[in-house]
């Protein structure tokens, strides 16, 4: 067996993985990136809408800053996020976008003078300032107070990923494509690389590294209806779970996007609504203002998705032979706007639905979209259970999103966390902890286990079909662990998944082809996906409240009294049928923004007495500092700057003032 030695092994070639790799490499550590597919085809390329950073250049963004971005993100998370980490994130986001601008991303720019925009279905004219001309512009997105989503026409993710990948090539970072990490090598709580399967030849090899970083993106494909790429099967989080050491957190926090096209689930961007698009029902009635008079179509995703399902349940959906859906109307934006700013949307409508969105309505229904949960890390990106293991991007639960992420905060997280985690990986490699002493016996033990498991599939005289079982898992997740959740159904889902996991040990392969055998791939990924699915289902069952995207109709209130907790999951023993869950408390008394009403969605929640106490304390602290500026106030409430690498600490310059 071939063993490849490197300082840093990054598993995943999306935005997060490549940015972390660049950081580690620039600090002088040999870095290899693994990817299932060519790096530029990673799912990051699909982000159409934008990246949040409080640049405050355009008119709609005037007055924006880190504080407002922080508040929006925490409210969006329904107070599930780690507020210190949110601060680190909102502080570094403008730097990340400016770095990408220098590296070559053609961000859309502010154009001075009059522009026609669509607000609430009405045309308005705004006039951009001369002073902002040529600076990076932003657009309106759900759940934000300012126009903060910076974009590149509607190919934001594509442009970011191409620039990032090209930068990685320039830095001489090898990307080993079509390579799948199938297990982490670890011993006594220390991770030292991964066992990897070559997807072109079927060969098993080992990568031994001082630091290993999981950047494998989301796990949307455990659901049937998902906006995610078909490679988003969560294998990175799954192999971390299988160590029995690393913890996953908040796995039940799964986001559904309001506008997946129906029935395929392909996403049309939130930018459609941000730019003024409307949601209509079977009668052509614009229903969102009935439910959300203030934010309407632009309430946060969890709220809009739920309102849509609620409206369909109330009999207002459009009936079709595939089921019911609603309409997205962007006709009012006009052809020129669609051609220029929403071209990707236009192409999707044209190629997958055969319609022209400037003239016709788009059939939509919420679909699984984003995994807030993932490998639990410290603010520096290191796993809490396994030393030498880091995680970044959608695969991680660094925790800026809590129970609901805001549109545009995810690609922003990938690059911001990539900058931060790349540095901490380098720090780790430079430290005494960084050195490893791995015996080939250990490596071979892990490799043998994988080879054995694969051989078992081809030898076994099982009766189950991998593709069928996968479909059953996806069906169960979409119908029982979806937007509206209920105790009985969740229990059924847990039982079904448990049963599927047992059956997955009895798979029969119809094709014994060695090399790149797609059926074998489905067979060995399935039990891992089932374990992730079980973390989601069991986490959802046990969380007897509603928070962000997690909505229990038998427990419709957010319950701060009992649930200011982050769920942690481990899979202690390979033979276990269920994960072991535990809870990590979130300390209200340390929060800069104590729990309250989000400003949209349901107003009733069960308050924690500490929330009022902390608010009083905050008022008292602020009152003692009459002459201080916002930075001083912030530092007095919840200092965070020392957690950032030194070069990311300076203040961000803006047009108005520092």
């Amino acid at each position: 067996m071939q063993i490849i030695y490197t300082d840093v092994l990054v598993i995943g070639g999306g935005l997060a993985g490549q940015r972390a790799a660049i950081g580690a490499k620039r600090r002088g550590h040999d870095t290899i990136v693994l990817s299932l597919v060519p790096a530029k085809r990673s799912h990051s390329a699909a982000a159409q809408g934008g990246m949040q950073a409080s640049l405050a250049n355009c008119l709609g963004g005037a007055g924006d800053n880190e504080d407002i971005h922080f508040q929006d993100t925490v409210r969006g998370s329904d107070w599930g996020a780690d507020q210190e980490v949110v601060r680190m994130f909102t502080h570094a986001a403008p730097k990340a976008i400016r770095e990408l601008a220098a590296w070559g991303v053609p961000w859309s720019r502010v154009e001075r003078g009059d522009h026609e925009i669509t607000v609430d279905g009405e045309k308005q004219t705004i006039s951009e300032n001369e002073a902002a001309h040529g600076l990076i512009t932003g657009r309106n997105f759900g759940g934000t107070q300012k126009w903060r989503a910076c974009y590149v026409s509607d190919g934001t993710g594509h442009a970011m990923l191409y620039t990032m990948s090209n930068r990685a090539i320039a830095e001489g970072i090898p990307v080993h494509e079509r390579m799948e990490a199938v297990a982490l090598i670890h011993d006594e709580g220390r991770c030292s690389g991964a066992i990897v399967r070559n997807l072109m030849t079927g060969e098993i090899l080992a990568y031994v590294a001082k630091a290993t970083c999981i950047a494998t993106g989301g796990f949307g494909r455990i659901y049937r209806a998902s906006t995610n790429a078909i490679i988003n099967e969560g294998m990175g989080a799954a192999i971390a779970l299988e160590t029995g050491r690393a913890t996953l957190s908040n796995m039940e926090a799964v986001q559904f996007h309001p506008t997946g096209i129906f029935p395929s689930g392909i996403l049309v961007t939130e930018g459609c609504r941000g730019d003024g698009g409307l949601l209509l029902d079977a009668n052509g009635h614009r229903f969102m203002p009935d439910y959300e008079p203030k934010k309407k179509e632009l309430a946060s995703r969890d709220v809009v998705s739920r309102r849509m399902e609620q409206h369909i349940a109330a009999g207002q959906g459009v009936k079709s032979r595939f089921g019911e859906h609603l309409w997205l109307d962007i006709r009012l934006l006009g052809r020129e706007h669609i051609d220029r700013n929403l071209r990707e949307v236009k192409e999707i409508c044209q190629y997958f639905l055969g319609i022209d969105p400037a003239k016709e309505l788009i059939p939509v229904r919420p679909a699984q979209h984003y995994s807030m949960g993932g490998v639990r890390t410290n603010p520096n990106g290191e796993s809490q259970g396994l030393r030498g293991l880091f995680a970044v991007g959608e695969a991680a639960c660094w925790d800026i999103h809590g129970f609901n992420r805001l549109g545009g905060n995810s690609v922003a997280e990938t690059v911001v966390a990539g900058m931060i985690v790349g540095e901490s990986i380098a720090d780790f490699c430079d430290s005494a902890d960084g050195s490893i002493n791995v015996s080939t016996a250990l490596v071979e033990k892990f490799a043998r286990k994988q080879t054995q498991q694969l051989a078992n599939f081809t030898l076994a005289s099982g009766t189950e079909n991998a593709f069928d079982l996968t479909r059953q898992m996806q069906e169960t997740m979409t119908s029982k662990v979806g937007i509206f959740r209920h105790g009985d159904q969740l229990q059924e889902a847990v039982n079904t998944l448990q049963n599927l996991l047992l059956r997955s040990r009895n798979i029969n392969l119809r094709s014994a082809t060695r090399g790149p055998n797609p059926e074998l791939v489905a067979a060995y990924r399935l039990p891992r996906m089932l374990k992730l699915a079980q973390c989601v289902a069991l986490g959802a069952l046990q969380r007897t409240e509603s928070r962000g995207a997690h909505y229990r109709d038998d427990y419709p209130q957010r319950n701060d009294l009992e649930w200011m907790q982050r769920t942690l999951a481990v899979w202690s023993e390979a033979k276990d049928e269920l994960p072991t869950l535990s809870y990590e408390p979130l300390s209200i008394m340390r929060m800069e923004l104590p729990p309250g009403w989000r400003g949209y969605g349901a107003k009733d929640y069960i308050e924690h007495p500490e929330s009022a106490l902390r608010r009083q304390e905050i008022d008292r602290i602020i009152a003692t500092m009459p002459d201080a500026d916002r930075h001083a106030h912030q530092a007095a409430l919840m200092p965070f700057l020392d957690k950032l690498p030194p070069h990311l600490r300076p203040l961000n310059q803006r047009l108005s003032k520092f």
Partner: protein, 253 residues
């Protein structure tokens, strides 16, 4: 998506696939390359992505092909569809005749059946043409201060050329790439046009001439324009190549 139920009355499609598994030759029975026919009942809204997955799940689990985004965004699924290169995931079967012939894109290393190594080719092209912003000052950029300005129109023009998804359709359609292995293709020339337009890249025409001022570059192109017709992103490849050719010819003279 495989959740689309089959309709009551639909065509029976004959999908003929050029099969070949280079790595299986080493171990399993050697079937060489051959055309295999599968029958699939058409469904409403069926794309080749749906049809191929159905074949794999129900008829032949060893069939190889590449899909990632299944939304026409990532460039993974280029293949020859009834003689023309195109993206399989966004090709609706209703736009095709009863018999559909699928073959892997030529000009790339074959991995197996419909799967080819476009990724390796594209990375090689990027390394060779250095498709990144070249700027001495990049090491010391100050990311705390307001970014450099750029004219909005220029940013849009750069994005226009940045839209290439490296699917390889232009390469498969190009007579020159089939003859000359080192030819950078329309995708490569487009990259040069993109960075040439970008004021952040400080390379001069003389630098670009070093990269493409030869038969493996812009002078190898016979302007037959197969590339532009096949580009799923409708990139203005012909205009860009013609422009580069003029610039490069002037750079020599």
């Amino acid at each position: 998506m495989n959740n689309i139920p089959l309709a009551e009355e639909h065509r029976m499609l004959q999908i003929q696939i050029l099969r070949h598994n280079p790595s299986a030759l080493l171990c399993d029975s050697d079937k060489g390359s051959h055309l295999q026919t599968f029958e699939v009942e058409e469904a409403l809204g069926m794309t080749l992505f749906i049809a191929l997955n159905e074949i794999r799940e129900e008829q032949d689990p060893s069939l190889q092909f590449d899909f990632v985004c299944r939304a026409g965004i990532c460039g993974s699924c280029g293949m020859i569809i009834n003689g023309r290169p195109g993206l399989a995931c966004r090709t609706l079967t209703k736009d095709l005749p009863d018999v559909i012939v699928l073959a892997p894109l030529p000009g790339f290393e074959l991995i197996g059946d419909l799967s080819v190594n476009t990724g390796k080719w594209m990375r090689g092209m990027s390394e060779h043409l250095e498709t990144w912003v070249h700027n001495q000052e990049l090491e010391e950029i100050n990311i705390d201060v307001i970014e450099e300005r750029m004219e909005p129109r220029l940013a849009e023009q750069i994005y226009e050329l940045e839209r290439c998804i490296e699917c390889g359709c232009c390469i498969a359609a190009c007579g020159t790439t089939q003859m000359r292995e080192e030819f950078v293709g329309a995708a490569g020339l487009n990259q040069i046009a993109r960075f040439r337009l970008d004021p952040r890249d400080k390379r001069s025409d003389a630098d670009y001439y070093e990269l493409i001022g030869n038969d493996a570059g812009v002078f190898g192109c016979m302007t037959l324009l197969g590339c532009e017709d096949m580009c799923p992103k409708n990139l203005p490849l012909a205009t860009q190549i013609a422009f580069l050719r003029r610039r490069m010819a002037m750079t020599t003279g």
